[in-house]
Subunit: 215 residues, 2 copies
DNA sequence: ATTGACTTTTTGTGATCACAAATTCAAGAA
DNA sequence: TTCTTGAATTTGTGATCACAAAAAGTCAAT
């Protein structure tokens, strides 16, 4: 149990907004106004300001000077740039994580693969996406390289909004889980290169699927 | 000419602090206090607060809740984590940049390699380091991938302080420029893989040199 | 001298006000 | 209607005050 007592108000707001982004509760292009959020979170404008500025600094939100913060609308080109960086970092993190996984974490990852499969068969997009984020980030968190992990989490925060939105009105096909099954096999075989390859394929497949849906 | 009119006070302070970090004017471990900086930059506490929080969000500064922000002191382990990510990203950026370089930029890069060589022969550590940062970042800026560039600049901001500090009382040997000469050769030959390899070697050499000087 | 508790000062965080720039809205002209 | 124009409102940014937590300083006791 990590003692996130949430000391500061601005940290509470920050984490709330962060989760909202990952959960796709914020539409791309939506404008986030300080006073509105302050009212919504029952806070003063000050912590909200700080939280927004932090998210902007992390690239999760965009803001022009003197203008409202808004959740980024990714054009195809930007999305592919994001993807190319993820392809460089995430397989690496996965490979480094594999030998460091505890039995508990392995079991949790296996359960997530299974949960994603059942979510797919039930056309439960939200469930699949939550499982997908859990699976990847939980795996990467074991990589033992906080710097790398920090970058990856920042990238997920940037892809989050489009990622969830685009799947909502998209027919889900079972092939989406193939790469995860391959990753799970590599995981059980303690085969780091195969795991890296599986993660790479997962990102590339899913990336291509989304890329041609963007403006 | 890019119209950096520096609209906001907080942006001015941010860029000033950022440059101070890259130039090694801030010692690792040094505490940055809001009111002191406000006085130094003839600003109110508000823009300074925002600038500091942004730098913290980017990883360039550290802060525990309710405590002063301070320039990070990197232990060897953290430095190597930073290095391993840089090794994944910077050669990639260099390779993508090569075919996009204009003749002007090529010439500027060549001049920088030469300037670094002469700085080395004169034991001018500061000049060498400035040239080094200029060379790398100018090269990467041509990569055409803003996402990638942003991450790399963030990483340089994090290594900046130790980088400059450690070289100041260190004898400079000419071998430090070997990788840059190799990069310059690859650049003239339009050989992207060779350029990527040269950048990789540069980081690795310089990284190893610094790693065993850290606590 | 060194450690410990206590007091004083410093410092980050939150709240509120002021203001200029940006946005929205409405009325009028084509 | 569609576009323009100008007033009215909203909204980000900066300034200042208040307060609790942290740091620094003080001094007595061992």
């Amino acid at each position: 149990m990590h003692d996130d007592s949430e000391a500061n108000r601005q940290l509470q707001v920050y984490h709330a907004l962060r989760q909202a982004l990952l959960d796709g509760e914020l539409q791309p292009g939506q404008r986030l106004k300080i006073r509105d959020l302050a009212e919504h979170y029952a806070a003063s404008t000050m912590p909200v300001r700080a939280a927004l500025q932090r998210l902007v600094a992390e690239g999760a939100l965009r803001s022009a000077p003197q203008r409202s913060v808004q959740v980024p609308v990714l054009r195809r080109e930007e999305y592919q740039q994001l993807l190319s960086v993820r392809l460089a970092l995430e397989p690496m993190a996965a490979a480094q994580a594999l030998p460091r996984l505890t039995p508990d974490e392995r079991a949790a990852l296996g359960a997530l693969v299974q949960r994603m499969a059942s979510a797919l068969s039930q056309q439960d997009a939200a469930g699949y996406l939550r499982g997908n984020a859990d699976f990847h980030l939980r795996l990467y968190r074991a990589c033992g390289n906080p710097v790398l992990l920090r970058l990856i989490e920042g990238l997920w925060l940037q892809v989050g909004p489009v990622f969830t939105q685009l799947f909502n009105d998209q027919r889900l096909h079972a092939g989406l889980n193939a790469a995860h099954e391959a990753a799970w096999k590599a995981l059980q075989a303690d085969d780091s290169p195969a795991l890296a390859r599986a993660i790479h394929d997962d990102l590339a497949d899913c990336g291509e699927l989304l890329a041609h849906l963007l403006p």
